[in-house]
Symmetry: C2
Subunit: 341 residues, 2 copies
């Protein structure tokens, strides 16, 4: 296996074959205006030398990078890794490359990334905004430069970009109804406070179900944060009080886990003393003690659909009107943690 640091360009091939670079270029992409004989010769040599066209040069020339960017808050989260999987699959099929950016829920970082992407590095962008994002100008600026943008899951309401989400409101409503149907009467909603549309949707779904069932029931909304320690404290004092709730609906997986931890610590039995349900995409919840009932979001499909829509935009194909605001339903899976006694 010989080493070679010298790069092989069209020129190399052309010189070797006594052809012009344009002929070689055309031959390689199977242009019909080149004789089969020449095509074969060229391709054979290219193959032999392991030629592959310089990326920067060809994308400079064609103002096309065959690359998209995906911006997400975190990757250590089953929802996002499943979505990423869907996106990557679509991109792979299209022959596109995928840049990944993690904001770690930092708005400034998010804005910086979007700025970096305005220079032709990518042909399109997909984003799920951070929970500290409270202004969407950076998204608008990107759109203004002519780069297609698709939002998914955590969308920007005020921006005119296609969005793919799940039915957070109705899923939350159904989850609450499920708790009620299992006998719960005092249901607390653990909310991950933020200005995100999905947070509000989920809270509204909860409220709607509560009021639908009994106009006089006082909803219990507990705002939590990102710190596990503090969340556990909050949940602890919630469960220790005299009139403690008989059910908890966690808006995000993290809070369900905190709830379990507190219950294990305090010796509260699930579901006898407390029923629990949560949004979560973690398959392993089926092995929890007890198995956790969940609202599962179609993360993989969301990623796939969002990707498909982005490529339509990139290829300037028309969008169905349904694709401008696409919602894919979540599924409720009831397990032990919400079983009636």
């Amino acid at each position: 296996m010989q080493k070679r640091e010298d790069t092989i360009t069209l020129k190399t091939l052309a010189k070797e074959l006594n052809l012009s670079t344009s002929t070689v270029s055309r031959a390689l992409k199977g242009s019909h205006e080149i004789s089969e004989q020449t095509q074969k010769k060229v391709k054979a040599l290219a193959d032999k030398l392991g030629y592959s066209p310089n990326f920067s040069a060809s994308s400079l020339r064609q103002s096309k990078s065959r690359t998209i960017a995906v911006i997400i808050p975190e990757i250590e989260n089953t929802f996002f890794s499943q979505a990423m999987n869907g996106i990557e699959e679509v991109a792979q099929k299209k022959g596109y490359h995928v840049l990944i950016y993690l904001t770690n829920e930092d708005f400034l970082r998010e804005r910086e990334i979007l700025k970096l992407l305005r220079n032709g590095r990518v042909d399109g962008v997909m984003i799920s905004v951070s929970n500290t994002t409270d202004s969407f100008e950076h998204l608008q600026e990107l759109i203004n430069t002519g780069i297609p943008l698709v939002c998914f899951d955590r969308v920007a309401e005020s921006i005119d970009a296609p969005r793919v989400t799940t039915d957070d409101l109705s899923a939350a409503q159904q989850a609450t109804q499920h708790l009620i149907s299992q006998g719960a009467r005092k249901i607390a909603f653990l909310s991950m406070s933020s200005g995100l549309s999905i947070s509000n949707q989920r809270k509204h779904g909860y409220l709607k179900a509560i009021q639908q069932h009994d106009r006089n029931t006082e909803p219990i909304i507990v705002e939590c944060g990102t710190n596990d320690q503090e969340n556990r404290k909050v949940i602890q004092s919630l469960l220790k009080q005299k009139q403690a709730p008989d059910a908890i609906f966690a808006a995000v997986e993290k809070l369900a886990i905190n709830t379990y931890e507190v219950c294990h610590e305090l010796g509260i039995r699930i579901p006898e003393q407390l029923k629990v349900i949560s949004f979560s995409n973690l398959p392993a919840v089926a092995l929890f003690n007890p198995a956790l009932s969940t609202i599962v979001q179609p993360a993989y499909q969301i990623g796939k659909e969002a990707g498909t829509i982005l490529f339509k935009l990139i290829e300037k194909k028309p969008l169905y009107s349904s694709e401008r605001k696409l919602s894919i339903p979540s599924k409720i899976i009831d397990r032990q943690s919400t079983q009636s006694s």
Copy 2:
């Protein structure tokens, strides 16, 4: 907010300011040969118009893309998403962009990706090979083109590239010893069969511990595959036999989950009838029924270290000899599933 489809280049700025493009270019990167006055003017306008240098053009010119590629088998796996997180963080600090590729354990896809990357699209590559990979020429070819490569976790033994792993052998040995110390005498090892070095390392660690304890003990090695259904069948027949093992050591998380499923189904009590330990990076195993003892790999650090080494290579800095084969220890966390009765 006005729309503009026209891109802003050096030329735009130059024309506007009655300067040459070279002056503008130099001014923007704070060259000392440009007067402060001019610099200010130029930067102000660039900022105002939101100029950002065309990516393809500048990387063509400098033969530098400020981009790295990360190739992994899957992302829906805590180990890889944690590693990815570490990598992204290092890259972000360095001002680099990260391309992500998922092979889905497909060797052909892996080879194809590596071929795509030989054209100057990236300045460096990190890979954790697929479990169907049995030849490493595609890695060597990449190295031959002069692109730095770092392997992590699932490394290619025969390739001369820096590698970052964990101490699979000794961790597996310790895990087995732990089972023995908890009273287990008939320990089965569930292996994810493959030609991967880490698979062998783990198996060897298991064997070493078994033989160390008692030369006459017959090891029980059960080869499993990727299909959950079949794995469960295999485990079922293993546990149903007369002389069933009293402990299971799962080489990967998936197999521990299959084991739990089977035990729940057959009513086998963990840890009383069967102790279980597994390699796994899933934090939620602490909530399993019962809490699962695990060997936790330092995924995040592996990603971070591998990234750091790759950037040294890219920047042609010298490597410490320890960095050519770096091993970061795993930690055993013992929970209920391995408690002695």
